[in-house]
């Protein structure tokens, strides 16, 4: 007789494993079903491996500036791609192993195999059979989206998961899609030595982010030799003797050894089966409590397409677990930071300038460049700025956008303040350690209020 659980979680990614841990923490008997590696896209094919390689890429870039700081390399540095791959894989293994340890420590049963929902309280697990449960959490995650264009199935067109397994640097790489994944991978291979071209359908890179961040990203990448083509639509892909050719709608043609298809991700609905879970535009429809149209069936994380980010998935996973165990809890997704890693790092929370102007009668901007920040100048990394958007009557912080080293850390201060409803006044008056890059956030708030003393008076 198969064991019956309080909670069965399908998917071992951020939403799934957190939901399982949270359920177990609150005394539920929990099984987690995963057919691949624990950790999901984030740990295995996304956030973590790209960050490992970006670190290698940034280290390589930094060596170029060493001479100006008085460090002279007698022979130029050389990338050992096999070692880079191994180093990245070690990081991934360590973190996925960590997830297993955490699940074991809370006595979560890990069932290996594909899972399909059979009914509100019934999950069919490949190799295990039917598992009955009090509630089901479907954290099926997402898969790389594809484009319906001829030739897209060529072996030379890689998805992000394929490119992260390369042990050889291609001479040239075409990045199709200038979103977060495309920009990060373009930077990695550009630093590794590939000639990189980014093709973006929209008029700018990172079209979902504040325009100020798009601009600085495009400028820096161009300076490093990355070819950026925006506003371009693709007619097809043809294989050539050395690689492939991208055929553009305007008749143009771009050749490269390999291409990366990074046009976003779409929910992986394979765990739904024909259970009747409601899907709209390829996304599972849930309420704020993460419950689907089927009572007792919850769907946190990428599968519902609300915010396809690991940290949003953590929040949704916890909310789903509470809701599934009878304590309905909303997933708070008001202040979700988003980060594009690389050099410079780009980070945002809240509204973009355009969104803020559309929603509020009056907005004020405060921009503080790292070139005016003592710590940045001393460390020779003055690229970027902090931009804060406020509503001037009360000083409400509507959005914060940061470009520059450490942006992924600085943005969390902004997110915390916004969630606690601190205003630009409190931020401007909060003492920040000097010298530190965080001072730029404080100074930008002061600038928005017209009282920044570390910027020249008008």
């Amino acid at each position: 007789m198969m064991k019956e659980y309080d909670l069965v979680v399908v998917g071992g990614g951020p939403a799934g494993y957190i939901a399982a841990l949270h359920g177990a923490l609150h005394g539920a008997s929990v099984a987690l079903v995963e057919s691949g590696e624990l950790g999901g896209t984030c740990l295995n094919r996304g956030c973590i491996p790209t960050k490992a390689w970006l670190q290698t890429a940034e280290a390589l870039l930094e060596t170029r500036d060493w001479a100006s700081r008085g460090i002279v390399l007698d022979t130029p540095p050389r990338l050992d791609m096999k070692a880079a791959l191994a180093s990245k894989d070690r990081a991934v293994r360590r973190l996925t192993g960590g997830v297993k340890t955490l699940l074991d420590s809370r006595k979560v049963d890990i069932l290996r195999g594909r899972a399909v929902l059979k009914g509100p309280r019934l999950v069919d697990v490949e190799g295990v059979g039917l598992v009955t449960t009090g509630a089901v959490i479907l954290a099926g995650g997402s898969i790389s989206a594809r484009l319906p264009i001829p030739g897209v199935d060529s072996k030379r067109v890689l998805l992000s998961e394929d490119i992260l397994a390369l042990d050889k640097v291609p001479a040239s790489l075409l990045v199709i899609g200038g979103g977060v994944i495309g920009v990060e991978i373009a930077q990695i291979f550009s630093a590794f030595g590939s000639a990189v071209t980014i093709i973006e359908l929209e008029q700018r890179l990172l079209p979902a982010m504040d325009e100020g961040l798009s601009t600085i990203a495009a400028e820096t990448l161009a300076r490093r030799g990355v070819n950026i083509r925006t506003g371009v639509s693709i007619a097809g892909i043809a294989e050539t003797k050395e690689g492939l050719a991208l055929l553009l709608a305007d008749g143009g043609r771009i050749e490269a050894e390999l291409a990366l298809l990074s046009v976003g991700r779409r929910p992986d609905l394979s765990c739904l089966g024909d259970s009747g879970v409601k899907v709209e535009k390829g996304r599972v429809v849930t309420d704020e409590f993460m419950e689907t149209n089927l009572k007792g069936v919850f769907a946190p994380g990428d599968i519902n397409g609300r915010k396809m980010l690991a940290h949003a998935a953590f929040a949704m996973g916890e909310a789903a677990a509470d809701s599934a165990l009878g304590k309905p809890r909303r997933a708070e997704l008001d202040y979700v930071p988003s980060v594009v890693y690389g050099k410079p790092e780009l980070a945002s929370v809240g509204r973009s300038e355009a969104e803020a102007r559309a929603a509020y009668d009056r907005v004020e901007l405060g921009v503080f460049p790292f070139a005016a920040n003592g710590r940045a100048v001393a460390s020779g990394d003055t690229e970027g700025f902090v931009k804060i958007i406020i509503e001037p009557r009360h000083g409400e912080i509507l959005g914060v956008h940061i470009a520059g080293a450490g942006a992924s850390e600085l943005i969390n201060e902004a997110a915390a303040l916004m969630r606690l409803e601190a205003t630009a006044h409190e931020l401007a008056d909060t003492m920040h350690a000097h010298p530190s890059r965080s001072e730029a956030l404080m100074e930008a708030a002061a600038a928005a209020l017209g009282r920044c003393l570390h910027l020249p008076g008008k």
Partner: protein
């Protein structure tokens, strides 16, 4: 020697009272019998009178404080005299918090435990300390929005256990100026129940759950009744209401049906000697039922004046606690609201019956083949079936109906 002022026990059930206002300040001269404070029980607000001549030396419990009965709330004595409680008060300040009355009032209104505030070193909490705390307890953004709108963030209702957020202030602002709010708003709003609504609610729920109640309906021809009332009002200086006449009719019907004028006492029924009718009065803060004592013995003008007085003071929350007790039967009248014709009132425990007065309605009848218009009064009678059987209850409502249909008997 200084004498203490204590929280009075005004009514059998009273265990604690809230100080609504101090009518005298520390240092004011007071005369025996002079009101010095307003005390709120769970039913009413009453004035507390000084029991000695002298000076109000100290106020030991501030406005808004809930104080158990017989506990000292102030001291009266000769000017300059040191009240004996000072020593104990100082000891107490160490465990609770020493605060000025204004500080206490602000804290109570904002729902803040004074004990959670640290008094300034060696001192007493002042109003400003509490206000500062409230501002801190609202998010900076919420405080700024409230301040800009000249609203006290401490007065904004918020989710339990949470700070005051922007959304709370915005909700309060939109309810303050409904015109600026979206009339189509579909957002849920939480309105806390008043103390009276909570207590009434608990009693109604208990009554509804515990009593096997049955409601009888009757339609009384009130045509002559209304004509008599008009004559009375045309002649007399006191305006007699339909309600007044029905109360008197009810009192007379109770005289003839003593089992309906009773209270349940465990496994017994106490047939009450006096007929004291509770009259339900809707007030801004909830339903109050003051008691019209000896209703059967009052002349009609006296009855009318007494009911007006009770209802007026109920709305002003100026009833004495004993005026809300001792009822032997209750009347609830919804006729004046229009709308409903009849209803099933809930019995006021431990009483066994309640008379509901519904709408007046014109109906056509055939009398000797001729259509005539009669104005009918909807009556309902909910009773505790453990105390009354069908015959007894029918006899009571029939008595009421008969009196309404033969109004001169009401006056007799």
């Amino acid at each position: 020697m200084a004498s203490s002022v204590i929280m009075p026990k005004a009514g059998m059930a009273m265990e604690e009272g809230v100080i609504v206002a101090w009518l005298k300040k520390e240092g004011d001269a007071v005369v025996r019998g002079e009101p010095i404070a307003e005390i709120e029980t769970d039913k009413a607000v009453m004035e507390l009178e000084a029991e000695a001549d002298g000076v109000l030396l100290t106020i030991t419990r501030g406005v808004g404080e809930k104080v158990p009965v017989t506990e000292v709330i102030a001291w009266i004595g000769k000017s300059g005299e040191i009240p004996p409680a000072t020593a104990t008060a100082t000891a107490k300040a160490a465990t609770t918090a020493a605060a000025t009355p204004a500080a206490r009032r602000i804290a109570v209104e904002a729902g803040i435990e004074l004990a959670s505030l640290l008094p300034p070193p060696g001192g007493v909490l002042h109003a400003d300390d509490v206000r500062r705390h409230i501002r801190k307890d609202a998010t900076p953004l919420a405080s700024r929005i409230a301040e800009a709108a000249a609203m006290d963030p401490g007065s904004v209702p918020r989710q339990e256990g949470s700070r005051t957020h922007k959304a709370d202030v915005e909700a309060a602002l939109s309810s303050r100026t409904p015109s600026s709010g979206d009339p189509q708003s579909t957002e849920d709003r939480r309105i806390p129940l008043t103390a009276i609504q909570r207590i009434t609610g608990e009693r109604l729920a208990r009554s509804h759950a515990e009593i096997p109640s049955v409601t009888l309906f009757a339609l009384a021809d009130a045509t002559r009744f209304l004509a008599v009332r008009k004559e009375l009002n045309d002649e007399g200086s006191i305006r007699i209401s339909v309600n007044d006449l029905v109360i008197r009719a009810c009192a007379k019907a109770l005289l003839a049906n003593p089992r309906a004028n009773a209270v349940i006492d465990g496994d017994g029924l106490i047939l009450k000697g006096g007929i004291h009718i509770g009259v339900a009065v809707a007030t801004d803060t909830g339903l109050l039922v003051p008691t019209l004592r000896d209703a059967a013995r009052l002349s009609l003008p006296d009855l009318s004046l007494r009911v007006k007085d009770l209802a007026g003071r109920a709305r002003a929350r100026r009833l004495r606690p004993e005026e809300l007790e001792g009822g032997t039967f209750t009347i609830s009248n919804i006729g004046m609201y229009g709308g409903a014709t009849s209803f099933t009132p809930i019995i006021n425990q431990p009483q066994v019956g309640i008379l509901g007065i519904g709408a007046l309605e014109e109906r056509l009848f055939l009398e000797a083949g001729v259509p005539v218009v009669r104005t009918m009064l909807h009556l309902s009678f909910s009773f505790d079936h453990r105390a009354l059987d069908g015959a007894e209850s029918s006899s009571f409502i029939k008595a009421v109906k008969d009196l309404i249909e033969r109004p001169l008997l009401i006056l007799s």
